[in-house]
């Protein structure tokens, strides 16, 4: 069934979108990530204009994160105070990101920027995860206990300290603000919630306990993604609500299946699969930058500015 998207101004198969939402939903249910980093490139592949894909992705993240954060609230696994600090950084970051996005859109380099961000970040995160989970699997086979991480000492020396009860931390607000800021920029440019960067940063940089990390990250992502959606909707009118709804319906159903599959697999196996997936998306996008395109010319409407 073909459906015409009013803002993207293309006609696509509704079942393809439902399936896409479902597929990403399965993966996000399995791995506990928002899935925005997979959704946006997949939307590029099926011919949704990149700016619309990015802006609509942000809207879809609001829905999936909201659904997920409710479960974490019930388990009291959200550090509201830390979430608020991250959020303040995140809002500034999102504003900065949208400004950068619009500036580069005027220059005609926005596609390149989005793709480069994807290649770089997916590459780094994918490699780190891959190496880390390989080690974990080897450790599990060798039967040796995991080695403890060293605490970063320079973070303890920064001023403006604050107590975060739910996380059991007493640290400066500067590192969380910076983490929030950079994830906000990413969210705006890449159309992702940034969970795949936020979660490692909270664990390894801020030293937060794992049980509150996902809930807190989701909490602040909702607001940053909502803010990004509004900025995109007002500044360039590229949020396609029909597209968002279709992806969302598929995503919600898929996530439930994903959770079931995920609960039957081992954590290291899951992580290595996710790492391979991330690297595959990164590889495909990177290849497009390196290989000579079939058509070196591209058209865009000039009235966008």
């Amino acid at each position: 069934m073909q459906i015409y998207l009013p803002i993207a101004e293309v006609s696509v198969n509704a079942f393809l979108l439902l399936g896409l939402g479902g597929l990403v939903g399965v993966l996000s249910g399995m791995f506990g990530v928002g899935g925005g980093f997979l959704m946006t490139p997949l939307l590029f592949f099926i011919g949704i204009p990149p700016p619309v894909a990015v802006a609509t992705g942000a809207n879809q993240i609001v829905a999936s994160s909201f659904s997920a954060v409710l479960a974490h609230f019930r388990r009291r696994a959200v550090d509201l105070r830390m979430g608020t600090v991250l959020l303040i950084g995140g809002l500034f970051g999102a504003a900065l990101g949208v400004m950068l996005f619009n500036y580069l859109k005027a220059l005609g380099q926005v596609d390149l920027l989005v793709t480069l961000f994807y290649v770089v970040f997916l590459g780094i995160i994918g490699m780190l995860m891959f190496v880390e989970s390989l080690r974990a699997i080897r450790r599990a086979r060798g039967g040796k206990p995991a080695t403890k991480r060293k605490k970063h000492t320079w973070i303890q020396k920064l001023p403006l300290k604050m107590r975060f009860r739910a996380s059991g931390l007493y640290i400066s607000v500067i590192p969380p603000l910076l983490v929030g800021l950079s994830v906000g920029v990413l969210a705006a440019i890449m159309g992702v919630g940034g969970g795949f960067i936020m979660v490692p940063a909270m664990i390894y940089l801020l030293g937060m306990p794992t049980k509150v990390v996902i809930g807190t990250s989701l909490f602040q992502i909702i607001f940053v993604a909502a803010f990004t959606t509004m900025l995109h909707a007002v500044s360039s009118q590229i949020v396609d609500v029909v597209l968002a709804v279709l992806l969302l319906v598929g995503g919600v159903v898929g996530a439930q299946f994903g959770t079931r599959i995920g609960s039957k697999m081992k954590a290291e196996q899951l992580r290595i699969l996710l790492a391979i997936l991330v690297l595959a998306v990164c590889f495909k996008l990177g290849l497009d930058l390196l290989i000579e395109p079939r058509e070196v010319y591209s058209i865009s409407s000039a009235d966008a500015s």
Partner: protein, 253 residues
Amino acid sequence: MRARLAVALLLLAALPVRGEEVVLGLSQNSVSIDTTFSGSQILLFGAIKREVAIPPDELGVVVTIAGPSQPLDVRRKERRFGIWVNVDAVEVDSAPSFYAVATSGPWDDVLTQVEDLRHKISIPRAIRSVGAPSTVERAQDFTDAVIRIRTRNGAYQIREGAVELSEQTLFRTSVDLPSNLAEGGYVTRIFLTRSGNVVSEYETVIDVRKVGMERWLFELSRENAMIYGLMSLAIAIAAGWAASMAFRLLRRG
């Protein structure tokens, strides 16, 4: 007086325009883009009305449909530091979003170069490009690229011999409109030619409009961007909440 009459008569004789005229019918004079829109086909049919004997010169019919024109940025990629980046851009002042030309015979037989220039019939003539920045070499390549890309995705069509002509009087053709159609007035022109010279011209407009929900959403997103954004968020949050509730109930049940 007599001289004037003679001049008028001469003019009349020199202008065979009066002799033949196009009468046109359309299968539809508007196209509605609704949620299930996936392209459309427009059937054009007509007759040639004449009050004189059929002239001996070869008859041709050329039909064009042009979507709303807009300025375009055309960019060219080049390899820089190992990756392909946009390096230069040319603004094409005005290019139709859709353009289809159908003729009743081979291009050179139905239309002369001069008439093409005058009426801007062929695709390269329908695109207007002036003032490419002097830093860009070969600005013509950019216009060619627009034609090439849009021909490939069906937005520009040249179909020689697609107009069926019978008994030098009736003609018909159909034009496929793709699914990614821009809104606006689609100017439809019919040219009647004799030996490549235009003898009669007929023009009408096919209205392409988003309707229903498509229209409503599109207008809301443009005119009340704030409300549209809030609505998108409200839908997203409601959907997220509903999903969470539904699956809690399922798990309990």
